[in-house]
Amino acid sequence: MAFETMNLVKGQLSSEVLALKNKGYRFVTMTCVDLGDSFDLLYHFDLDLKLTHLRLNVAKADRVVPSISGIYFAALVIENETQDHFGITFDGLALDFGGHFYLEEEVKKFPFCKFTVNKAESAGEGA
């Protein structure tokens, strides 16, 4: 169903996620949406069959986001997938496949980005 989100900035992410964990929420997954010049990261949590969503907007020029895998280990799968598909780097990822969770070394682009860049060019540059 249509939903409301709590909008966050990077510095709030870990504390808000930890607060949800302490309240007994189960981590469902994260969704990354390419908005053109930025990404929306939507974090979905469940408590008693009701979903709560956090939204973090990330500029493409600054694609480093704190990992929540230290709080919810389950997040490591979707964070690695998002690294592969969108080129976002998750700082502190519990098990980091370095952008090759699904994709082979020879894949040089981020396939889910609307306007993609070569991986070699992407370090430190905007998309």
Binding site: F3, R26, H100, Y102, L103, P111
Partner: protein, 357 residues
């Protein structure tokens, strides 16, 4: 001294490619690391070049075994965004086919599990019983696996009163057949020896690691997305099947008991199915973002759809149950014997096509 042993991607018990790097000390697993990517297709990106109606066929191909439920959940998203009211009869038909999918999925899995621990007769009986479910799907939908009955606004096919009566006869036969193998499955020494106390996932672990479906319920967490009452589930009596031990045996029992539960749900639905239209008219393009969840045979399925009113959807994100069950699997393996790894891996009913999409 630690030894690293590869498990998969090609392995006799695995129907799909999953690779685990097992760190062993003698015969005991100390750590397991997954490697995925053997069947990654990037299906979600097809939303940018296929329209919302064509996407129904795309999402059905995320996974053959639960194709009907993928399409149902995707359609719920689009219908929610566009404010389409699905006819009640269509809701009932969708759920009847969904429960048939659950039955054939659980029977397929039971056969694979039995094959994994060397019980060939159980493997053949489970798949023989499954064939009756496939017959129903072929007769009512025209296909055995990817039945393509869902469309945005409702369903493509109806079931006649004669077909519904025949489905009731078939589920009666299924119940009789299940009763015959129940005694073997629940009392056999070998089955218990291979599954009881093997691959334990505690209540706390299941919840914190985000387990889904029978993995969650096998560890005592009474959560099933059908409890949210989507589709026709709101019209039936239903309680989730829960076991408390969290081991491979508990997960096996959850699925086996869910076979009976699906039979009961189909009976209730057929008793209550209303007459009427099977599809609503659809006009325009969706706008907004939405999340819908459903219960696949393997657990909770979540779809996120974002649309801007264009021909193509802006984003389709699919979170499948096996995707959620990878971290719990990594927690179940440490401490087990190498010989138990195939049973534990199969006890989560892994679907790698779903996981990688």
């Amino acid at each position: 001294m630690a030894t690293i042993v590869p498990f998969g991607p090609q392995h006799p018990v695995l129907p799909e490619p999953l690779h685990l790097k097992l760190v062993l000390e003698d015969e005991i697993v100390k750590e397991a690391l997954p490697t995925l990517g053997y069947v990654h297709r990037g299906l979600e990106t097809l939303a940018s070049i296929r329209d919302m109606d064509q996407m129904v066929q795309i999402v059905e191909r995320v996974c053959g075994i639960c194709s009907c439920i993928h399409a149902h959940t995707y359609c719920m998203c689009i219908e929610g965004l566009m404010g389409i009211e699905v006819p009640q009869r269509a809701d009932f038909l969708r759920v009847i086919w969904s429960e048939l999918h659950r039955m054939h999925s659980h029977l397929l899995w039971l056969g694979l599990l039995a094959d994994a621990f060397g019980m060939e007769s159980m493997f053949m009986h489970a798949w023989r019983i499954r064939e009756r479910v496939m017959d129903v799907m072929e007769a009512t939908a025209g296909n055995r696996v990817i039945i393509s009955v869902n469309k945005i606004g409702g369903v493509r096919r109806d079931m006649s009163p004669e077909q519904l009566r025949w489905v009731l006869q078939v589920v009666d036969e299924l119940e009789t057949e299940l009763d015959k193998i129940k005694a073997v499955l629940t009392n056999d020494y070998s089955v218990k020896k291979r599954t009881v106390g093997v691959g334990v996932l505690t209540y706390q672990q299941a919840y914190e690691l985000g387990a889904a479906g029978p993995q969650l319920r096998g560890s005592g967490v009474a959560q099933d997305m059908r409890m949210t009452g989507y589709g026709a589930y709101k019209y039936i009596d239903f309680a989730p099947v829960v076991e408390k031990d969290g081991d491979s045996w508990a997960r096996t029992m959850v699925r086996f008991r869910e076979l009976y539960q699906s039979i009961d749900i189909v009976r209730q639905l057929i008793a209550k199915i209303p007459d009427g239209e099977i599809a609503a008219k659809v006009k325009g393009k969706p706008t907004g973002e939405i999340v819908c969840r459903s219960e696949q045979p393997r657990g909770e399925l979540m779809y996120y759809v974002r649309a801007t009113g264009d021909k193509y959807l802006d984003r389709v994100r699919i979170r499948t149950p096996t995707f959620a069950n990878v971290p719990p699997l990594l927690a179940m393996l440490p401490g087990c014997e190498m010989a138990d790894v195939p049973i534990i891996a199969l006890s989560i009913d892994p679907c790698i096509s779903c996981t990688e999409r």
